[in-house]
Symmetry: C2
Amino acid sequence: MSRAETSRRGSRPGRAGIRDVAAAAGVSITTVSDALNGKGRLPDATRRHVREVADRLGYRPSAAARTLRTGKSGLIGLTVTTYGDEPFTFTEFAYFAEMARAATSAALARGYALVILPATSRHDVWSNVALDGTVVIDPSDQDPVVTELVRQGLPVVSDGRPAGSLPVTAWVDNDHEAAVMGILDHLADAGARRIGLLTGTTTDTYTHLSTTAYLRWCERVGQDPVYEAYPAHDPCAGAVAADRLLARPDRPDAVYGLFDPNGTDLLAAARRYGLRVPDDLLLVCCSESTVYANTEPPVTTLSLKPRRIGTAVIQLLIDAIEGLDSDQPVEQVIPTELIVRTSSQRRPPRTTVSPPRSPKGS
Amino acid sequence: MSRAETSRRGSRPGRAGIRDVAAAAGVSITTVSDALNGKGRLPDATRRHVREVADRLGYRPSAAARTLRTGKSGLIGLTVTTYGDEPFTFTEFAYFAEMARAATSAALARGYALVILPATSRHDVWSNVALDGTVVIDPSDQDPVVTELVRQGLPVVSDGRPAGSLPVTAWVDNDHEAAVMGILDHLADAGARRIGLLTGTTTDTYTHLSTTAYLRWCERVGQDPVYEAYPAHDPCAGAVAADRLLARPDRPDAVYGLFDPNGTDLLAAARRYGLRVPDDLLLVCCSESTVYANTEPPVTTLSLKPRRIGTAVIQLLIDAIEGLDSDQPVEQVIPTELIVRTSSQRRPPRTTVSPPRSPKGS
DNA sequence: TGCGTTGACAGGCACGTTTCTGCAAGATCA
DNA sequence: TGATCTTGCAGAAACGTGCCTGTCAACGCA
């Protein structure tokens, strides 16, 4: 067949192929591919000519064909934990949103895009998308999705250290024990005599490590543990648990809440029992939400730095995908940040640690 | 070549192709494809045999090859608005998270997955991923991404009615004018004499329609407009604008805030000026966050029902992708919901409209 | 027996790239 | 002047499916 054949039988008018570009430019397919991808040894004149013709025809390379040929899709799976049929976790909206946002940015900057996928292998969607690698959030012990992915030879990086002997390529996490210890010390320094904990009934690593650290701290300082656990995926249960915690006969004079909504839950419960914060009750919760800067009073929060975690996870994963032997360790620990506000300070409400406002005066 | 040839030269041990399954099962490639996809006329015995062999070999069909052949990838783009380099909008965390969650669920239920993509066409990522269709959130007037996508023949469904003559396939939106009118009437019923508005300086449709509705309402009832506008993407600017609004000589006795953090911003500003809510100042803001159920006092919020919007957008898009002439109109209006709490009620704080708590008494 | 029909499968092409190999023509060199 | 090397490009083989077009046997029927 002659090369001047522009349209084959089934060619859609809106989709120009590399063949059409080659014919229109009067060169071969190889030359077009090399010119557009910066490969080969072509004079700049030819390269420019081909690019111009491609632009004129509105040529867009087929991602499917490229993926089939090269074996790289430029897609990264983002596995979100699910409760029942709903993806994402209910309790960590702000954390997940920030983390996903940073991960998306980092991936885009290196030419990758994120695909949201369920943590359950039940869906057949998993086999319908060509992935270069996957990010998993808080994988469970013998996570079937992770093991299957690793079996296929795909790199897997997890947010949260893997439980058991889960064979992930790399992981990123905070030092949750140190964070909890730091908070408890901070509350004790502020004058707390009996510190309570609002924790979860789930078995994920974050909850487990944090609770263990609390118990160890109590043992160390000789305090009886005072804690309430509730199913963290139930938004109403948190308020009830906060209420229970403050209704106990051995009511704590300081509380640390492991989950995002615990701050408002505890504030509301404190009001119901007539407890003033921070005078009668010191308060800290783990949250990425900015609302705690403006509550009455502002609540001290622990930030897990989801932006840094999301970025680190993506960098590690893409390094593994592209075979770069990163000089970074495959285990990365991101420091947490305690944002101290009024709720955990007995002394006069001095300047709080928060980003400076634009106007100086009030 | 004989058919017993199991491994070709470059075959990775971990990846079995359809060829290997055919050879191992002693049938042809066609038979394997038909057996696994439920096509063709095969006796159940053959079908079961092929499936069993495929399972034994751990066969996973290549998504890239399937996409190349069928033209369908099972991927839906989710275009998120960006401010600068950061994807997502800062002000609508909860809205976006809920909407994306529902969209993810709906897509997975029909066998599709979502790909997070930036609204800027600057990134070359767009041409590296094979999409069946795209969801765009609040597209701007002559959105280049949208026009390019429809030029390629891809269906595009937008969350938010398209401005100008943007040629989207379908769109889903709330009736923002009616929602604002309803809120203003609600506040007037509660005794408000001068209602203020906290709005944005951006030109998106939501801000524009809501502000216009406010101005029309003011004209209708003969009230001078009292509003402050600020760049909604700046988290600090909201607090400043709320402060400015309450510092005006013509201070309003009721305020509606268009953006999620406005509730806490306004509560904080009211405390600074010694205004009691709701006695001195009635408050409503547009938010999907649950924190307003537990603030002091609880704040009345307008919910845009992001879950319903996310679901509707995906259904319309997949219907368009699969060529189903949906009996639904291509323009869908989702009703909003006003969740009335203490902050907008002058009368005694009666039972608030919120999901019932598990325990009856306090 | 001849002929259309139907079930059960095999052969092979096409999807649109990337890339390996090859091949002429000019340049350089012993 | 022939041999070797670069430059500038073309041919064609994959990548792994889906599906269209056969082929062959069995079968019903006149």
